[in-house]
């Protein structure tokens, strides 16, 4: 086990994250993202399970059109990179450990159910807004796009309201 190191100061971490995001704009012309990867996985998986329905679907159809592989995209490689980078960081800072986390008041099956429900809402929501906290909230706002800040208002507004209402689960 590596020696446990505390997390970085939040403003230092933010400054480094800002430089990584700037580098991404310089290299690619767009920012960082995340929800495009589960979207690509959903299209690829649906195309295996129900190819006819997937190819006829208005949203997923073009991603698998003509035998195209939706997984072969910049965002999929980026998210694979995110997992590798986070793995290295967790290992070197002594925080790599298999565990099931969640509200202290919830038992293991409750935690799994909450994580799954939250993921479903989030995956659906990211398609509604055509971007998530990374692609729209962070990268969109870094271009000073109105859309980025509209997203963040909805995200923090509803998130804080739900967070305060569920405060007792975390006692």
């Amino acid at each position: 086990m590596m020696k446990q190191r505390p997390i970085w100061n939040s403003h230092a971490a933010g400054a480094v994250l800002g430089l990584v995001l700037l580098l991404t704009f310089v290299l690619t012309g767009h920012g960082l993202g995340a929800s495009g990867a589960p979207t690509a996985i959903a299209a690829a998986a649906a195309n295996v399970v129900a190819p006819a329905a997937t190819q006829a679907n208005d949203y997923l159809g073009w991603m698998v059109e003509g035998g195209r592989n939706p997984l072969n995209s910049w965002i999929t490689w980026e998210v694979i990179g995110v997992a590798l980078g986070a793995l290295a960081a967790a290992w070197w800072s002594g925080h790599l450990r298999v565990r099931l986390e969640g509200p202290p008041r919830a038992n293991n099956s409750g935690r799994l159910a909450l994580a799954l429900a939250g993921g479903i809402l989030s995956g659906f929501g990211a398609r509604v807004s055509a971007g998530c906290t990374s692609g729209l909230g962070l990268s969109g706002s870094a271009t000073l796009a109105t859309a980025g800040f509209v997203f963040l208002i909805g995200f923090f507004g509803a998130g804080v309201l739900t967070g305060l209402l569920t405060r007792r689960m975390w006692k």
């Binding site: 939040s10 403003h11 971490a13 933010g14 400054a15 994250l17 800002g18 430089l19 990584v20 995001l21 704009f25 290299l27 690619t28 012309g29 920012g31 995340a34 990867a37 589960p38 959903a42 679907n57 208005d58 949203y59 910049w74 999929t76 490689w77 990179g81 995110v82 997992a83 980078g85 986070a86 793995l87 290295a88 565990r99 986390e101 799994l112 909450l114 994580a115 939250g118 993921g119 479903i120 809402l121 989030s122 929501g125 990211a126 509604v128 055509a130 998530c132 271009t143 000073l144 796009a145 109105t146 859309a147 997203f151 909805g154 995200f155 507004g157 998130g159 967070g163 569920t166 975390w170």
Partner: protein
């Protein structure tokens, strides 16, 4: 040399992703305890990291454009679809308060060994399939109240970019000042 370079291949994806994942984990943003503590207003790490990153990146883009080596027209600026943009934010905010993560941070949490992070990510895939299932009937909602193409806050408010950056810096500094005690609250103990 002019930027952006227009890279779209696996190498640039992996490089940007590795750096992104490393910083998110070391900044404490792969931890559902800390992410939801922000939404309970008990820990301000998420706000400070995100807002600082937005300002540094926006400031860098401003300088590169001022120097004439990069042009705003070559950068992807998302367009507002008022109801869809807002509703997506609402669902992702509720999803984080309930499930602990957002799409990117669930990958970070999962990579550090969190089973709840893996389950959250599986939920994302289900959510996309559900969306695809009702996409056709909700198309009018998704495109409703569209703003001008690639509109920035400067366009909206009729202000130059440097003034928008100055106002946002003031907001970030103000929030940090008023929350600096709870940012270091001993009531919250989230390891990483």
């Amino acid at each position: 040399m002019t930027f952006p370079m227009g890279l779209a291949g696996p190498i640039s994806g992996l490089v940007c992703g590795v750096l992104f994942g490393y910083v998110l984990q070391r900044g404490g943003l792969g931890n559902g305890c800390r992410l939801t503590a922000q939404l309970r207003l008990q820990d301000w790490t998420v706000f400070n990291v995100m807002f600082t990153a937005i300002l540094v990146s926006a400031g860098g883009l401003y300088v590169l454009e001022l120097a004439g080596v990069m042009h705003a027209a070559d950068i992807f600026i998302p367009t507002t679809f008022l109801w869809a943009t807002l509703l997506g934010g609402v669902l992702i905010g509720v999803g984080m308060a309930i499930g602990g993560y957002c799409p990117g941070t669930s990958v970070v949490g999962a990579a550090a060994g969190r089973i709840d992070g893996i389950v959250f990510f599986a939920g994302l895939i289900i959510g996309v399939v559900a969306f695809a299932g009702i996409y056709t009937p909700i198309t009018p909602l998704l495109g409703a109240a569209a703003g001008p193409q690639a509109q920035t806050l400067g366009d909206l408010l009729g202000l130059p970019a440097w003034a928008v950056l100055a106002i946002l810096t003031g907001v970030a500094a103000g929030v940090w000042w008023f929350t600096r005690r709870s940012a270091a609250s001993p009531a919250i103990t989230c390891a990483d």
